[in-house]
Structure formats: C-alpha cells, structure tokens
Subunit: 209 residues, 4 copies
DNA sequence: AAGTAATCGAGACGGTACGTCCGGTCTTCCT
DNA sequence: AGGAAGACCGGACGTACCGTCTCGATTACTT
C-alpha cells in the first residue's frame, strides 16, 4: 500500500511529525512537485506509455532513485499526477430531486472523461489490471468517494420513502457508474451526457410496460 | 487490422482461396496451434505479463519471427489464444421468459469470468487501453456477439409488447453487462451470480416505489 | 572446395558432360547470370555487407535455394561476381627488360585496385579470414596466376644470367606483391603507381651503399 | 574514434580527470576487466566469430548495455581484448648491426603470429575491412609502433652512412613487414623465421648479379 | 504420349545475434 | 539523511540474415 505516500503533503503540513522524521535533510518539496508536474505533462502528451520512470526523472530534473524513494511503481506516480491536476472537481450540490441529482453527478463524470483526461483514466484502469497497488489507489481515492456520495443521495431518497427500501445499493451504484467506465474503456458506444439521463431514468422506472 | 488473422481458418476452409496463396510453402498449421496453445498456457499460468513473445516462442518451439509474421503484437496472440481455448461457450437457449433469459446469459458470463480466465480477460481489457488492435478485436469478437444476442432477446420482448418500445437498447445492454466488467476490473465488489438476478430485476422494474 | 562451381561455364560449354548430368531440367543459364550480375552490382554499390544472400536473390529475381544450390557461401558468390566483372585484365606483355616488365605488372594491379573494385577486393580478403573456401578461391584464381606470371618473368631473367640464381622466388614475389595488398587493406600509406617503381628498384638493387 | 576508450586507464591514472567525470557512480573496473578477459578467451577459443557481444556479456557476467556503453562494435572490444593479452611484447634491443636488428624484429613478429594469436590477428585485419574504427585502431596501436621502431633503426643506419640516404622509408617498411601480413592472411606460403632472414637480405643487397 | 528427374519461384520456418529500451538497484559525491 | 548523477544487471523488444524446408510449376530426357 503506497497510499501513505499520498498523505505526504499532510504529514509535511502538520508540524508534529514523528521525531525520527526530523533527522537529516528534509524531503524536497521542489522535487515532489517537479515529479508530479512532469508526470502529468507526460501523461497528457503521450499517455501512460510515455510516462516512463526515466522520462519522468529526466523531465523533472530529478534522479530516478528519488522517484523510487517515494513511489513504488510508475502507476503510483501516474495516479498521483492525475489527481494532482484534476482532483478538486468532485463534489456536487444536492437539490433533493433524486433523478436530477444523480443525473448531475453522472454528467459531471462524463464531462471529466472527455478528451485526454479520459484517455489517461482509461489507461490507468488498464494498468491497474496488473498493478494491485494502483488498483487499490483508484478504488480508494477515485471510485469510493464518488460511490459514497451517490449512495448517500440514494439513501436519503430511501429515507424519504421514494425508493424501495430493499434495494442492493452497491449493485445500483454499478448500474449507474459502470456503463460510463465501460464506454470509456471499450469505446463501443459514444460517451455523451445523454447517457446520464437514460441511465437514471431506466434505473428509477425500469423498462417493463 | 489483424482480425484477418483470426479468420485464417475460415479463409482456408472456404474453397475460394486466392490463387497467390498457393505459392510457396504453406503456413504451418502445427506452428499456429503450438503458438496458440503455448500462449494460452502462459496466460493461464502467469497472466498477460508472462505471455512474452519470447516465452511463447520458446514454449511453442517456434521462432519469434514466425509469431510476428502472423500477429502484430503480443496482445493479438493473447486474444487469439484466449478464444482458442474458450470461444465455443457463447450461445444461449431462449425460453421466451425475458427475465429468465437475460439472467441466464449474465450468469453464464459471470461464470466464465470466475478464476484465471476472468483475470486474463481483465488483463486483456487493460492491455486494450494502449493497443487499439486488441481493443477492436475484443469489441468485434467478444463484446458484439454477446450484446447482439441479448439485444435480439430484448427486441423480441418489445415485439411481444412486454417492454417500452422507445428504450435505448445500447444503453440497456450497458446497464446489464457493464457492471460485470466493472466488478471484474475494479474488484470493488464480489462478482457472483446473485448479481445477475439483481441487475435484471432492477432493469425491468426500476427502484421507484 | 567449391572451385568446381567456377568451372561451370566450362562444363556447360563442353558437350561431353557426365551422363548423370543429362537427366532432368538443365541448369538455368539465365538464373546464373542474373545472380552474378546482381551480386556484382550489390558489391559495387554497398560492398560485401550489402551482398547478402537475400539481397542477391531478391535483386536477381531468383530464389535463395537456387543460389545455395550452386554456391555454398556468400563469399563464393562474391568472388565469382567479382571475376565475372573484372577477370579479363590480367595478362601482360613481356619486353625482356626485367625492371620494366615487373613494374608494369605491379602498376597494372595497383590500377585495378583503384576505386570501388579495390574496396571490394579488400573486403573479399577480409571475409576470407573466416571463410576457407573463399580463401582458397582467392589463392587459386587470383593470386596464383599473377604470381606465376611474375615468377616466370623472373625465371627467364635468371636464365639470362641477370639475377642471382639462388634467390627464394616465393619470397621475392611477396616482397613485390605484398606491399600492394598491405596498403590496400591497412590504408596506412597511399597506393599509387610510384610505389611500383620503388618496389622493383629496391628489390633488384637493395639499399646498401 | 574509440581509441579514447583504450586510454581510459591512462586518463584515470593521470590526476587531471575532468571535473564532470567525478559525478555519479564511477565506471566499474571489475566489469571492464571481466569484459576484456571474456572477450580474449572467446577470441582464443573460437576466433572473432565466437566473440559475439552476447557471448562476451554472458561470459563476463555483464549486461550487453554495459559493453555498448564503452565499445561501439564487437571489433572494438576484440582489439582491446587482444592487446589486453599481448601488448607488452613489442620492444626490441638494438645492437647496431642493421641486418641483425631488423631480422630480430621480423622474427619476433612472426613468432607472435604463430598459433591462435596469429589467427585472431588475421581475423581482426579481416574485420577491419568493414569496420573503419577497428582499422584505425589497428593502425595506431599495432602497426605504427612497430613501423616507427624499425624506421628509427633504419634512420640511424642511414646516419651511419650504411644505407642510401634517398630511400623511401615507408616503402622499405612495407617491403619488410607486408610479406608477413600477406602470408598470415593469404596462407599461400608458410610463415616461418627463415622468411625474416630472406626479406632482410634481399632488401639490403637486392637480387641483381 | 506418358513417365522420370532435376530445376526453379515463392515463401514459411527455426535459429542466432543484433542494438535498444526500460525497470530497478547500486555507488559515489555534494549539500 | 536527502538528493543528483549515472553506472550497472536483467529481460524483453522487434529486426536482419542465415540456411533449410516445403510447395507447385516448369523443362528437359527416356521409354
């Protein structure tokens, strides 16, 4: 688990780090940012294939060892770089209208996957198939927050008595989110915002006459 | 497009081979099978990472050039090897009970993804993110046949007047199949046959009270 | 020994070939010439390195097997091709003036080694270091005729009483010819016709005061 | 020019190494020697053909990249390995007797070319026909020192008034040394020490009655 | 005319080595 | 102790030729 690395900023920010960490030369924040920026640039320009450890090190003006010191695999640097650039946009305002709120969240995600960032996310997911650390990071830092948020919206709707109380919430989440990732990775159908409305409507009302 | 390579058996079987193809030493069927078997074995044993061109060549007792002659990338060999082992099982009997038929098909797919073959498929999907040929082959040889079959089942149900005639069939297909691939690749929830029933039920009836 | 192959033209010309050779399809003279021409062209254009069996076959419009049928190594084809283009020029007129006759022969050889043919000969000699067949062919078809001719000139001079009768003729031949090959292959000094005069003069008169 | 590589030991020995060269991990002397030893062994055992980059790397327990880092071609490694084993023996004592001194030097060279080392040298010369770097190295590190030494001996003899002062010294050098290389590479006559005496005698006194 | 035999083109094949790339690890000195 | 520089081993890559091997087609001579 290298999620610890993600918390570095936090550890550094907090003044009361463990006494052991106060020995020797402190970690260079300059190097950390240079690495993340270099990796992010490479990801955007040439995808995951271009973001080799060597290329990142060269571009960041940093030695390879420094990268390995803080991130175990190239996938780890890549996710961090991805979030370094695009994390902020993940909260959503809730109106109380279930269909509208869910549609909004899906549309926001579809929008975030347009263009290069979508390609990069697809490649990260691809890489995660052979990199368990990367998979775990994607789950905990990307998927879970979004699922939790939607699940909360749904739960509140259940509480309001709009939804059958016996539903399988994780399965519902999948029926909402999975098609987006599926189209992102398989490219068999276009990934546009119309999809958001269709998914929510079918989920709520079904297709049976 | 290397899908042409997949059709070799078909092309050869059909009597109308191009006259040019009768010149020179014919392709060695022995080598073709040895390659596919070696690749399939390696995939099962060690995943896509183990199915190196060199390893396949060594195990098949074949030269690397012979592989490159017929498949452009290791992904290409891998899909062919995957299908070489597992293609037959894809048709489904139709009973006329929509829910039952769809559930059966999903359950069959979930079953096919249990164990090593599921891991391999996940890795193939992962690899497809950086290998457009592989992506295209997966779409045309794996996804499409299954989607087409389910779509036909759904269409007949529409014709029988059981389903709203204005539904977005591709989106429905995604709401059925995508969660399976999503759980296969992201591993955030278990992929078991209970999921099949839940997906179909929600799709047909919705969750609204 | 593939010197037999060199005699092919002779064998073909002579009507009374061995009875065994009269069975089956006769050797294609067209292919033989196409091969030699292709090889010679490649030698001139890109040296021995360019005259691969595959390149020769492709350029001659001939299958590789046909070449291997008649020549065992690429060196063999190369010498034959070299002679195919440049053999005629090797006889010399004798005037009876020893110094003049020897100088003429050396000068002629130096001239033959100017430009690309010299480079090709150097490469053939180079290749002969690891190809015994090629070495033997060079000795018997190139070196020996020239040495024999010069040796005969020298012998007649001995008979005329101009030269010490106890000389080591092979060593004399080497002291005349070797410097030319040495400069051709080592390139440490220019290979020009002035060298011919110097070599002959020193050989005849020595350098002692 | 990779002769620079040959001088590494010298450059390192000299105290004035460039400041840049003190950065990073220093070159591994262990690897350098392992490579040269492995190459020399392979040369002796199987000639230049056996001294592939892969074989050298495997035998030296070194990666191919490390070899390519310091030597551009296999010829380059081969010469270095050759000299690594046999360089020391090249100086000669001078007695003041011209014939004797020259004969001694030639005999020493003939002796050095007996057995496997002679074969290897012949192959190096052969390879040099298509490898300009190798050719240059042979000239500067092998031929030139020996020619310079003999030329100095000759010059002193001229100074003593024993030899015609107008002689073409390079041509004389060739008439002495070339026959040895010629017999080494063409194998048309035996290369024994008797040749040394014959060459010197003819050079000094000529053959004219 | 049918049969026999060798040749030829095309091109697939196993094999060896090539020169390169990247991953991870290491060693050195500098800060 | 952290970091930049960079050398190092290992493994795989994709390519070039080699020499061998099928094929089917052609071209003679022999019955």
């Amino acid at each position: 688990m290298y999620t610890a690395f993600m918390n570095n900023s936090w550890e550094i920010a907090s003044g009361s780090a463990s006494p052991a960490s106060r020995l020797g030369r402190p970690r260079s924040e300059r190097a950390r940012l240079a690495i993340l920026d270099a990796a992010a640039d490479l990801l955007i320009e040439g995808g995951l294939g271009a973001a080799t450890m060597e290329a990142i090190a060269a571009r960041a003006g940093v030695s390879k060892v420094t990268i390995y010191k803080w991130w175990p695999t190239r996938g780890a640097v890549a996710v961090d770089a991805y979030f370094h650039r695009s994390e902020p946009t993940n909260t959503i305002e809730e109106t109380g209208d279930l269909a509208r709120d869910l549609t909004n969240q899906l549309a926001k995600m579809i929008d975030a996957f347009a263009g290069r960032p979508g390609v990069v996310m697809a490649e990260l997911i691809g890489q995660a198939q052979t990199d368990p650390n990367l998979a775990e990071t994607l789950r905990s830092r990307w998927l879970k927050p979004r699922r939790d948020e939607a699940a909360a919206v749904l739960q509140r709707s259940i509480d309001r008595g709009e939804i059958r109380p016996d539903v399988d919430i994780p399965a519902l989440m999948d029926q909402l989110f999975a098609p987006i990732y599926y189209r992102l990775t398989m490219q068999h159908e276009p990934l546009d915002e119309k999809l958001a409305r269709t998914l929510v409507r079918t989920l709520l009302d079904g297709v049976r006459l």
